[in-house]
């Protein structure tokens, strides 16, 4: 994730320790994938109580972009920053491969650089990516256009409505199971993920940079 931002996107990025109290000096927060606390109890269930999560919640309420990828998505769900929950993949296997995603909503701070319904190739690597929410929540997600990415063609984990990534109501917190940071150059097999990060920067510049 760090390399994708620093070397491919070309922006400043810091590693932030889980004990950190403040994220005030940052314009955007990225929660990367991994196996926090060994996925003990439930993926992300313990990490959501990390000290730094208070600062993440504050950044989210301030409208700053917050991106959670894979375990990061699971942590955002457990922390209640995004609705719903993750279950074990339907076929019970850890799936590790490149999948096709459809950009269902390209009018957000995370997807403005993509075309509507553009299909992109992004790798997934997870055992618990089977997204679930109740009927009422699903209706709200659909009505508010909060579903940003859906698996196109082959749903690898059985997630509801082929959901691969969703945002919160205000559209500044995105959680997705696929790894856009692992698709930022042709050397990695796909550069389709780079536009996600470019979208965030583009939106930030439009809002914060004064041009004469």
């Amino acid at each position: 994730m760090y390399h994708a931002i620093k070397d491919e996107l070309g922006e400043e990025v810091d590693y932030v320790w889980h004990d950190t109290e403040s994220l005030d000096q940052y314009d955007g927060i990225l929660l990367p994938g991994g196996f926090s606390y060994g996925d003990y109890l439930r993926s992300g269930a313990i990490a959501r109580f990390s000290n730094v999560m208070d600062a993440v919640k504050k950044a989210a309420s301030q409208g700053k972009p917050v991106l959670g990828v894979c375990n990061g998505f699971q942590i955002l769900l457990e922390a209640g920053l995004l609705p719903g929950a993750m279950r074990r993949n339907e076929n019970l296997k850890f799936i590790c491969k490149t999948v096709n995603l459809k950009v269902a909503n390209n009018e957000t701070m995370f997807t403005n650089a993509y075309g509507k319904d553009e299909v992109i190739a992004i790798p997934v690597a997870h055992g618990e990516g089977n997204y679930y929410c109740d009927e009422h929540t699903l209706q709200k997600l659909i009505e508010n256009n909060q579903i940003l990415f859906q698996y196109a063609g082959d749903n690898p984990n059985g997630s509801l409505q082929d959901i691969a990534g969703i945002t919160n109501e205000t559209g500044n917190v995105l959680g997705m199971m696929p790894h856009p940071e692992r698709a930022v150059s042709d050397l990695l097999g796909s550069a389709d993920g780079l536009k996600l990060f470019q979208s965030i920067v583009k939106q930030w510049r439009e809002q914060n940079v004064v041009t004469s």
């Binding site: 109890l41 439930r42 269930a45 313990i46 109580f49 457990e78 719903g84 929950a85 279950r87 074990r88 993949n89 339907e90 076929n91 019970l92 089977n130 679930y132 929410c133 109740d134 059985g158």
Partner: protein, 83 residues
Amino acid sequence: MYKVKVFVTLRESVLDPQGVAVKNSLHRMSYEEVEEVRIGKFLELTIDSTDSLDERVKEMCEKLLVNTVIEDYRYEVEEVVVQ
């Protein structure tokens, strides 16, 4: 001293793929009478005597031990005599 036994199960409306896999295995082992299998978790907490034990156990469950979006829970409290 108390031993609190917490039983966590998937909500009825949530599909349980592990349970289905286990049921199919049992069928292949010729235990065809099994109609459904659902898999849950069992947690055992040893707790020092405290006021409002029930309230605090419920809080522990709903904050950390259980994901109330997809799980249900119940618990039993057993007093343990300290030797």
